[in-house]
């Protein structure tokens, strides 16, 4: 299991390749990469603030919960903070499991929990100014299915 919280960009393809190469006993690897949307050209940048210390602990806890719930060979979570521009990768998760069902379910679980239980806050920077992204009720509702 690897958790990385970093300002630096990462290469999602290279990360999936390295993750896959390091896995033993898996028959499936699922990965998800989240990108900064340009919101129809309205967005010029995204600033991501986080809570150093708590962020790593919270993500590790979420990943450990996934490992406890599903049969997983390995888990990878990378999440950036700082200033990003549209098109850049914000974060990714990868899961490896003996079978694809567990890998897909665990990846979705990780995404749902990272959205509203990992201490990150997004601020959209546009031509008209800057605005904090509000959490959606649907993000909170998404946790109920687990």
């Amino acid at each position: 299991m690897r958790v990385a919280v970093q300002p630096a960009p990462f290469d999602p393809g290279a990360e999936v390749s390295a993750f896959t190469a390091g896995v033993r006993g898996a028959g499936a690897v699922v990965s998800f990469t989240g990108l900064v949307r340009d919101e129809g050209g309205r967005l010029s940048a995204m600033e991501i603030e986080h809570y150093p210390g708590m962020t790593e602990t919270a993500i590790s806890g979420i990943a450990a919960e996934a490992v406890a719930r599903w049969s997983l060979a390995d888990v990878l979570v990378i999440h950036r903070h700082g200033r990003l521009i549209p098109g850049e990768a914000i974060m990714m998760v990868a899961t490896a499991a003996p079978h694809r069902g567990d890998a897909f379910a665990a990846a979705e679980f990780l995404m749902d929990y990272l959205k509203s239980r990992a201490p990150f806050w997004k601020k959209e920077i546009g031509a008209d100014g800057a605005e904090w992204v509000a959490a959606k009720v649907s993000d909170e509702d998404a946790l109920k299915r687990w």
Binding site: G34, E49, Y51, G53, M54, T57, A58, H79, I90, M91, M111, L114, K115, S116, R117, A118, P119, F120, W121, K122, K123, W132, V133, A134, A135, D139, E140
Partner: protein, 82 residues
């Protein structure tokens, strides 16, 4: 003494990321009352507690939680990761 941290718009409204506070508050809610009474910027930041979350020693908690033994309290809006 307790370390109090603010994130996102809470940090912006109060105007600082963290401070050390001498408090006799027994719960998070009592600490919030003390902060609200300080200055308008605190009152503005803590106007609506349903819009806020609290972490005690880097773990999500609730406003009625006790502060005994807690070293770090953080206030922030609902998280928007992913």
């Amino acid at each position: 003494m307790i370390d109090v941290l603010y994130f996102a718009w809470v940090r912006e409204r109060i105007g600082l990321p963290r401070e050390r506070i001498e408090t006799s508050a027994a719960t998070v809610a009592e600490l919030v009352e003390e902060l609200r009474a300080r200055e308008e910027r605190y009152a503005a930041a803590f106007a609506d507690l349903t819009a806020l979350r609290v972490a005690l020693d880097q773990e999500l908690s609730s406003f009625d939680a006790p502060l005994a033994g807690v070293r770090e309290v953080a206030f922030f809006p609902p998280m928007t990761g992913g």
